[in-house]
């Protein structure tokens, strides 16, 4: 194999890498897709929900055959304190009415193998179980990969090795990640009867729920809680920004246990059996952490490129991964036609990204990381909301203060005028 030269080598068989591989193979190119897991998806973890639009462009109607879990028709967000939860729910048959605007709960170790199979059918040479240690660079140009001393050559390498992206780091395209740029997510997959899930969450058939929360999920630290209904399991987890580790004395594993015990969560998972425990990093700094995307003979895609947007109420990464994989592949096809795999020859990738929703959304939403690194959002606001709602819904026979006055007093006791002004300022900036 070492004498053979591929048109393209793709490192990482997640959504970005597999999408790129599939498109390149369909264009008649010789493609090698390497993954360090025994099978694609065996090292991958999602919360998780896939917004379908970008994969629809590659596989129209994919949900008909792909192993999705449920279609999300119920959205729920909550502000939690230890004993309370203010919930906002939205359920609609309009959610996911057409495939382009649908979103699905998925599990990577089930979904990614389907995508890998599509790649193989298209002619991709899939090589699982190998760790690519570095890119081979000759005369300043990436010309292949080095996997444990075995060298494989190609015109171009697409880096899709995920959030840690040691490959992009070793090339100097990406800096060492900082604790401000990533959060750690930990998740349990809990088995429950399909009908029990339907009854508890008030859904039918393949309808599903996406539920995010802020506040007590992380005991006031930056981050949040998540719960997604799968077919016959529930994904439950917490995500905590690494820069805020140590804000409380509660460890990450204990935070998840604590979240599972929250009175608003516990009844939904009662009687379930945990079947897997996983962890994964999530890029969080949006446009502020995008690395160099193209050099001679190499492109960076997906989580490796930091393509994730977290708004608190929606978290997107997989749809960005798919789109960036597609755009990288298309740029490689153009480069092959022009016979130019230099940085300039591949630069249509960056142009296409800038024109796509990826960069447009990441730029438009660049203020969100600032909002989501404010203590007010995770501690003071949930406590204030708890206080006001408790007042609103409690009738005890005691003469009550004017409600409006109560609200004003409560706001004043939880947030200073300076905090409020600065928070509103950040929110205005973000929008």
């Amino acid at each position: 194999m070492s004498e053979e030269k591929f048109d393209a080598i793709i490192v990482g068989g997640g959504l970005a890498g597999a999408t790129a591989a599939y498109i390149l193979a369909n264009a008649g190119m010789e493609v090698l897709l390497a993954d360090r897991g025994d099978f694609c998806g065996s090292k991958n973890v999602t919360g998780g929900r896939l917004y379908a639009h970008s994969l629809e462009k590659v596989f129209p109607g994919f949900a008909e055959e792909a192993p999705i879990e449920r279609k999300v028709t119920h959205e729920k967000i909550s502000l939690m304190t230890p004993k309370s939860s203010l919930d906002i729910g939205f359920s609609s048959e309009k959610l996911g009415e057409d495939p382009e605007s649908a979103s699905y709960t998925i599990l990577h170790s089930k979904f990614d193998p389907w995508l890998a199979e599509k790649c193989e059918e298209a002619g991709v040479m899939l090589v699982p179980g190998i760790r690519v240690d570095s890119c081979v660079v000759e005369d300043g140009k990436v010309v292949g990969i080095d996997a444990g001393g075995e060298i494989m050559y190609s015109d171009v390498v697409i880096i899709a090795d995920g959030v840690n992206s040691l490959l992009a780091q070793k090339l100097g395209m990406k800096k060492e990640l900082t604790p401000h740029e990533v959060a750690v997510g930990v998740k349990e997959v809990i088995k429950l009867d399909e009908e029990v899930i339907n009854q508890r969450f008030g859904v039918r058939g393949n309808e599903g729920v996406a539920w995010l929360s802020a506040g007590d999920a992380t005991a006031g630290a930056f981050g949040g809680g998540l719960l997604y209904t799968n077919k016959d399991t529930i994904s439950i987890g917490i995500v905590a920004t690494l820069a805020d580790i140590g804000y409380t004395d509660i460890s990450i594993p204990d935070l998840l246990d604590r979240y599972k015990e929250h009175p608003a969560i516990k009844p939904y998972i009662e009687g379930g059996e945990t079947i897997e425990y996983s962890a994964h990093l999530v890029p969080e700094a949006g446009v502020h952490m995008i690395p160099e995307l193209v050099r001679d003979g190499v492109l960076v895609t997906g989580d490796a490129a930091g393509f994730v947007v977290n708004l608190g109420f929606t978290v997107r990464g997989m749809d960005f991964a798919v789109e960036s994989g597609r755009l990288a592949a298309e740029a490689v096809i153009r480069a092959k036609e022009a016979g130019d795999f230099s940085k300039e020859g591949l630069s249509s990738y960056v142009d296409a990204l800038n024109e796509s929703f990826i960069m447009k959304d990441m730029k438009a939403l660049k203020g969100f990381p600032a909002i989501l690194s404010r203590r007010e959002v995770f501690k003071d606001l949930p406590e204030m909301v708890d206080d006001i709602c408790t007042k609103l819904f409690t009738v005890s026979g005691k003469p009550s203060m004017d409600f409006i006055m109560y609200v004003i007093n409560s706001m004043a006791s939880h947030l200073s005028v300076a905090q409020l002004t600065s928070l509103v300022g950040d929110i205005m900036d973000a929008f």
Partner: protein, 94 residues
């Protein structure tokens, strides 16, 4: 649901542990307690311990997330790489 320890949870996962090649090594004698505290709190698998003035770590049960690398490379963490191909955790849900 009965409360499970982290070890119980890790026991549910499938591992092909490469016994002879730890993919993470630590600076045992590192002594900045604030730094050590963060790594101990953050590791999702609870694999870092501090005993008798030394940081200890076992790569068996590592979920390969990268948290300790980001928090503490060149401090508590001496080296961090992915396990060899096919080794380490194998998620079946993901």
């Amino acid at each position: 649901m009965a409360k499970m320890s982290v070890d119980d949870k890790l026991g549910l996962d499938l591992f092909h542990t490469d016994e002879h090649n730890p993919h993470i090594t630590v600076n045992e004698d590192y002594d900045d307690m604030e730094e050590i505290r963060k790594v101990l709190l953050a590791c999702p698998a609870g694999l870092y311990h501090y005993e008798n003035g030394k940081v200890t770590f076992s790569h068996e049960g590592c979920l390969e997330c990268g948290t300790c690398r980001v928090l503490s490379i060149d401090k508590v963490v001496k080296s961090w790489d992915h396990p060899m191909g096919g080794a380490g955790v194998q998620f079946r849900q993901g």
